[in-house]
């Protein structure tokens, strides 16, 4: 397949790997045993999806899965910024889990119509597994949103913080215009973003949670940038670029220092034991 195919699949896989790694950080620390097991299992699913997606890069004959997952520098990752944020607390973890898995469902539903048969088959498989994540996230969100005062007082600011950056999941990926021209990509990110915002607005309403007004204010106008847009990646870019809306930049390799920290830990074994297999 083409460069644009590799770019999209890598970005999707990076999202899954990075959020999967964050979820895995709850292992041994979650509020109770079922959630320890649940997040470990969800993490394993996401990292498995990342692995299967990486294996499609380069038409299956590209760099090995481990080299893509662990052998790149932080700025080469194309995950959305929301995925790399630390878990903070249980409320933020749940809010991000809920937003991420619903956003993922919206893009996978669209991608299931791709003309690339290998990707289509994998997405069909992934979507069936992801049902468990959606049910888990919905269950928790309903519980804490309706829950006692303490739960609501924690989930409201957590949701607001996560939602403010969730639009970054639909930042156009590199070579998206080319992918649309080539015809294998069914829908542009801008359409998926609109679907996501519609879903989120009514879902938050239903839960009786505020609709994240900050996010709505910054996202739509800024998000039509084409893949050849002006979000420049690179080492020389200043750390604080005032032009980027919240949560945007990850698809161009513009990450926060949160990624560098987790990258160092995530890739330790790979870097210290060259060629190791596990």
């Amino acid at each position: 397949m083409s460069d644009s195919f590799d770019a999209l699949v890598t970005a999707l896989a990076d999202d899954e790997l990075i959020i999967g790694h964050r979820h895995s950080e709850w292992t041994g620390y979650a509020p109770h045993i079922e959630e320890d097991v649940a997040f470990a299992s969800i993490a394993q699913d996401e990292i498995g999806h990342a692995s299967s997606l990486y294996s499609l890069v380069g038409g299956g004959s590209g760099p090995q899965v481990d080299a893509l997952a662990l052998g790149r520098q932080p700025e080469a990752y194309r995950n959305a910024v929301l995925c790399e944020r630390p878990n903070r607390d249980w409320a933020f973890t749940l809010a991000r889990h809920w937003l991420y898995d619903h956003a993922d469902d919206i893009r996978l539903e669209a991608l299931e119509q791709t003309s690339d048969s290998k990707l289509q088959q994998l997405v069909t498989k992934i979507r069936r597994e992801e049902r468990y994540h959606l049910l888990h996230a919905d269950y928790w969100m309903k519980r804490v949103a309706q829950g006692p005062v303490d739960a609501r007082s924690k989930i409201i600011p957590a949701m607001s913080a996560a939602f403010a950056e969730a639009g970054g999941l639909f930042e156009p990926f590199e070579q998206e215009d080319q992918a649309l021209d080539e015809g294998w990509l069914p829908l542009p990110s801008s359409v998926l973003l609109a679907r996501f915002m519609n879903w989120a607005t009514s879902a938050l309403d239903e839960l009786g949670l505020p609709g994240g007004s900050e996010a709505e204010a910054v996202i739509p106008a800024e998000f039509v940038a084409s893949s050849s847009g002006d979000l420049i990646a690179g080492e020389d870019a200043p750390v604080e670029e005032p032009v980027l809306p919240a949560g945007v930049g990850g698809r161009r390799g513009r990450h926060t220092s949160d990624l560098a920290g987790m990258w160092a830990e995530m890739t330790t074994q790979y870097r210290e034991n060259e060629g190791a297999r596990w």
Binding site: V37, A38, R128, L135
Partner: protein
């Protein structure tokens, strides 16, 4: 002589022997059940001495996949008439829990895992509450504890009758 005899085998005969050999390959995490009974074999193709086995992973994140691939390769390599083996991992069709055979479901139960339904599951039905039968006492008086369990393919339940926690092979 094995080589002399195998030269006379037809592709159909070799294929039949490969299926027999695969019946001996267990799922490493559930050794009571073979990869055939788990519905993980998508197809066996024989062309001359070349064998190709299509393997359908149960869950994409299953860490046992590489091990199963290796076990399948080893088992098929030992079949008379097979000179070369290719094991292809595929999602076409995606593995679904209704692929587990009746014998496989029986063995899961004996192993202590409640089997998934025999019927195909629509994507919209996945993960919805099901009445899981306790594999220890046979009671249906059970409650879901978590959609997740110690492996990606297992959910946890509690039996109100015999008061044991148990696991169910997830419907997917």
């Amino acid at each position: 002589m094995v080589t002399g005899a195998s030269a006379l085998l037809t592709s159909e005969q070799i294929e039949a022997r490969i299926w027999e050999a695969l019946q001996e390959v267990p799922d490493p995490e559930i050794p009571a059940v073979s990869v055939i009974e788990m519905g993980m074999i998508g197809g066996v193709h024989v062309d001359g001495g070349r064998a190709r086995v299509v393997l359908l992973p149960t869950f994409t994140g299953c860490p046992a996949i590489a091990m199963i691939e290796e076990d399948v390769r080893r088992a098929v390599t030992g079949v008379a008439g097979v000179a070369a083996v290719e094991v292809e991992t595929s999602f076409d069709p995606p593995w679904t829990s209704d692929r587990i055979s009746a014998a496989g479901r029986e063995k899961l139960r004996d192993f202590g895992l409640a089997p998934p339904d025999a019927a195909p599951v629509l994507i919209t039905q996945i993960g919805l509450p099901v009445v899981a039968t306790c594999p220890f006492c046979g009671s249906s008086d059970t409650v879901s504890d978590s959609l997740f369990g110690p492996t990606p393919c297992r959910a946890t339940y509690y039996c109100s009758a015999c008061r044991n926690p148990f696991e169910q092979f997830k419907q997917v």
